[in-house]
């Protein structure tokens, strides 16, 4: 099972990611949603590292929405206009009864998280491993979202290890 050895915190983060994906209309749970979930659950080293670099849940949500709007405008569609035309009923949120699967990228991030756990010799899978798993995919949406938010992935990784060292020491 993909969640074996997950700590309560990292499990909570993934659950929160699902909520974020649903709210933002992501029909599959992307690696950027995993980051949003970490921020929403706001527990563990990953959230601490992100927050210390100025990343907020609100800011990340807005950036994710902005990325969708940018994609649409690259093919000449204005999300604002669609929204205006459709009226108040328009919302990106995915209805509760529709299942949201993990995207291949998110799945990969969680698989990589497990490898990070092993590599670091840990016997639990914490939010820091999840975040490292996410950062491993430079081409992913999460990394691009973080870069757009002014985060240098290497700096984030360093911060993560700093906090880890502090927690251990």
């Amino acid at each position: 099972m993909i969640f074996t050895r997950f700590t309560d915190r990292s499990r909570k983060s993934v659950e929160a990611a699902l909520g974020e994906a649903r709210m933002l209309g992501h029909d599959s749970l992307g690696d950027e949603d995993l980051v949003l979930g970490i921020l929403r659950a706001d527990e563990g080293l990953a959230a601490e590292a992100l927050t210390s670099l100025g990343v907020t849940l609100e800011g990340a949500r807005e950036e994710s929405e902005e990325m969708l709007a940018d994609s649409l405008s690259s093919i000449g569609i204005s999300l604002e206009e669609v929204r205006r035309e459709a009226g108040d009923a328009f919302e990106m949120r995915i209805p509760e009864h529709r299942r949201i699967p993990l995207s291949p990228r998110a799945k990969k991030a969680l698989v990589e998280a497990r490898k990070e756990m092993r590599r670091l010799g840990d016997n639990y899978l914490g939010t820091e491993h999840v975040l490292l798993g996410i950062l491993g995919n430079e081409d992913g949406t999460a990394v691009r979202m973080l870069v757009r938010l002014g985060v240098v992935p290497e700096t984030l990784e360093e911060r993560l290890f700093e906090l880890r060292g502090r927690a251990a020491g």
């Binding site: 994609s71 093919i75 569609i77 669609v82 459709a86 009923a89 328009f90 990106m92 949120r93 509760e96």
Partner: protein, 85 residues
């Protein structure tokens, strides 16, 4: 196909950008459909009429939208007795 033809016909030059636009459009389309079906429902349209204009079966529209919209407008339009429990 040579490079030139492709960029002229294909829109964004970066394939990823092109593919991401598809994803963004799909997600937006879903939201737009949900909104317009809801708008029609509020305007008193039957599922059958909504389905007809969308060009799909009444069952398809009902299955996709009834639960959400009914949940949002409980007690509305009793004449539309449907398949949901």
């Amino acid at each position: 196909m040579d490079e030139k033809t492709r960029t002229r016909v294909g829109g964004p030059e970066d394939p990823r950008e092109g593919l991401e636009a598809v994803v963004a459009l799909r997600r937006t389309l879903e939201a737009l459909e949900a909104a317009q079906v809801e708008n029609a429902f509020i305007a008193g349209w039957s599922w059958a009429r909504i389905a007809e204009v969308l060009g799909v079966s009444k069952q398809a529209v009902h299955k996709k939208h009834a639960k959400r919209i009914r949940g949002r407008y409980p007690g509305e339009s009793p004449r539309r007795k449907g398949r949901d429990q």
